[in-house]
Symmetry: C2
Subunit: 232 residues, 2 copies
DNA sequence: TTATAATTTATGAACGTTCATTCTTTTTTA
DNA sequence: TAAAAAAGAATGAACGTTCATAAATTATAA
């Protein structure tokens, strides 16, 4: 279960909580049950907070010294818990990193497909997705760098990687539609990805090393190169 | 001093060696000196062999379990020397990896610019380089994977990375010429690299995972995408 | 040429850390 | 008071690196 699902459940619980708070003036008996619920809620919230803090700590540390640089001890310290506590939330370090991977990938995909209008043309829609992705990577540098590190580490299992790819389904669908319409080249999705999405990672890398600025002009040039490489 | 320089010196020494071998019938006194030289030569050769064995062992191990998976103990075992012996050739693990990086990058560049005809047009020359690189990565899978791992690890210092880039100078020169002639887009070399060279790494990655075959047709499509993205 | 001393080269064991993970105890909650 | 949650200390393994010593080579002496 990912962070977003958790937050959703939390919202629902909060609504119930408020309802029960007002009920409390009416029914003394129920009050006792409510107190328990409120306490449970606080517990649940604390659990959620801890889990998120652990994920966030891992993200930060991976960014600063790679995945092997993010030791369980350091993660625990930053999240202000004991190392042993991590194992109440995650089975192992691999599990922790995998869950973080899926969480971040999901939030990346969510950003990529926001304001996504199915009525628009393939080109417009693709451009929207592309710039959404670019903006996400620019504004969420830690997440972006983490994701590109995950592409090259054996700690992420093939299965997990496949699960992560699922989030990008709308993009693959769009590519198929583009091909059918004769707008996009009839080449494999791997080639499409290699030339339209993957280069971003390189440019972000260079930008983070201070070697290549990524201003608006460069971004436009980059999109142009992307489009030229995949359009018919 | 890299492996190639070493081999060059070795060749020169061998020539001297043969010359002296024939001299030995003529001059008894010199013979003693020659024996020494021959012994020294054998020593030198053994040193060179060990160094190469260590580099090769590192390459193999990095390929199998990442850079952190290539422990000094394992490297020593595969190269059939003591862990302590590694430190007679390399200052540290970082030094070992850096030297391997430069060695491999150099051999990659050598392959990239072989059969490189300065008389040809920019497009022909670029195509030559591109396919040279692709073939190198296909036939030297371990080296290619190692190089792409080096792009993302903090163990390689910025200085070393810059040194590695020097090997690709002819390509950057070609891009400049292409721009002057109005054949290539007037965009930064980083963009050029991101769209013409970097995608190869992704495709090799997918190929090695058995996800995307890289037959001749796919290669041609890939080059077409490359060229479309950078040509005016 | 041979015996021995000096020097270089290579080694295996050991060092001090750090790692992911677990175990026992303490604290918090119900 | 019982149960659950969290903590800190401890574990064994693995890491990069070093060190005292052993082996191999070279220099020197007779």
């Amino acid at each position: 279960m990912n962070v977003h699902s958790f937050l959703w459940y939390l919202c629902l619980f909060n609504v119930i909580l408020v309802q029960m708070y007002f009920e409390h003036f009416l029914n003394e008996y129920l009050f006792i049950g409510k107190i328990k619920i409120i306490a449970n809620m606080a517990q649940l919230q604390k659990s959620i907070d801890k889990r998120i803090a652990l994920l966030k700590a891992t993200l930060t540390l991976v960014n600063n010294g790679g995945i092997q640089g993010a030791s369980m001890a350091k993660i625990a310290k930053i999240a202000a818990v004991s190392p042993a506590t991590i194992y109440l939330f995650f089975q192992s370090k691999q599990d922790l990193v995998s869950q973080l991977y899926l969480t971040v990938k999901s939030s990346f995909a969510e950003a990529a497909f926001s304001d996504y209008d199915l009525q628009e043309s393939v080109e417009i829609r693709f451009k929207k997705i592309w710039f959404n992705m670019a903006n996400y990577k620019l504004t969420h540098q830690e997440e972006a760098s983490f994701l590109s590190q995950c592409d090259n580490t054996p700690i992420i299992e093939e299965k997990t990687r496949q699960d992560g790819l699922q989030f990008l389904t709308p993009l693959f669908d769009l590519w198929m539609k583009g091909k059918e319409e004769g707008i996009l080249k009839d080449i494999s999705p791997y080639l499409m990805y290699a030339y339209s999405i993957y280069p971003m990672a390189f440019l972000m890398n260079m930008k983070n090393r201070g070697l290549c600025p990524l201003d608006e002009k460069t971004l436009e040039e980059s999109f142009q190169a992307t489009w030229d490489s995949i359009k018919v």
